[in-house]
Symmetry: C3
Subunit: 138 residues, 3 copies
């Protein structure tokens, strides 16, 4: 049993991957609702907002995973996992808001940036601390 | 020598990254064949299908990596690595099919979803089992 | 303190994630400069080049992370971390070049491919060596 491995980070990563899968499915359903067959990516404004909302989630997903795992490994696993859950809620706010109107994407987007910013900052502190200790004996 | 590290997961991840690189190159060759210079992303249907086929692979790649590593770490490395190889074959089916016609993307796509679904499910079981054992002593 | 964990790979991953965040912000600023409101992704050539430059960085980012970590885990952490820094410089060259003209994206792009190629090759050697040793006692 891998109980030494970061179970909480793995759980949050899996949940976030499932959430991304759900958002991908939302784009597919929007295609069907507006009768827009692949590979077309243009159409009525609501479809284009849905499509772009998903693209933005895709762009940020690897940045989220890097900051989640760095913070969780070198700062605090529990804190990082909690941050990851907030990130998912913020992504959902962003996505649902953007589908309604371009302006309503902003609250979720800002919360996303705040969460990634905090995870990265704490991760950086942990990594820097580790490097100073390991390589410079400080 | 890092023999404790998950060598099979690393091997499958590297192979899948090379495969993604190959698909990226296919888009580049399609650009040349249809004389579509960057940054243009519209053109004849075959180019647009090739472009979208690659984009879909890009969108799913992080979800694949998360499910591969979670299943491989918390359920079974050999099983996850085998699933990863099937995923690559399915992605190739999807890509080659989509280049031919939008409809022919479906068999590969469905197989992709099945593989990611199984990897995520087994990964979730492993992670949940680990969390119950580690944090709740069940 | 997680001093056994790959601190240098974590540091380079965090730096590269911040760099990706900076490039995302460049697209946002280009939107503002050309007054192109989301979800629109077409506009004057300079905006479209900036947009595509970022998209290409997004497409390659997971491939970079896989080759960075595999090379760093199974070949040499210091070498991989140094390669990762070169990759970031090359991405910046690529991005700044592409914003100026489509042709000027090429030097940075080729350097990117060279770095990913070397990291993947050394990673593959390390993984193959490990697999032969662990599973076949060679």
């Amino acid at each position: 049993m891998e109980t030494d491995s970061p179970l909480l980070l793995a759980a949050v990563s899996l949940l976030s991957a499932l959430h991304m899968g759900y958002l991908t499915q939302r784009v597919g359903r929007s295609r069907m609702a507006h009768n827009i067959l692949p590979p077309v990516i243009t159409g009525p404004p609501e479809f284009e907002r849905t499509f772009r909302a998903h693209q933005n989630c895709v762009e940020f997903y690897p940045l989220f995973l890097v900051s989640l795992w760095t913070c969780g490994t070198f700062f605090s696993e529990v804190f990082a996992a909690a941050g990851g859950l907030v990130y998912m809620v913020a992504r959902q706010m962003y996505f649902s808001g953007y589908v309604t109107s371009a302006k309503k994407r902003l609250p979720g987007f800002i919360l996303n940036l705040v969460v990634i910013g905090i995870l990265s900052l704490l991760g950086s502190i942990g990594v820097l601390h580790g490097i100073l200790y390991k390589y410079f004996l400080i």
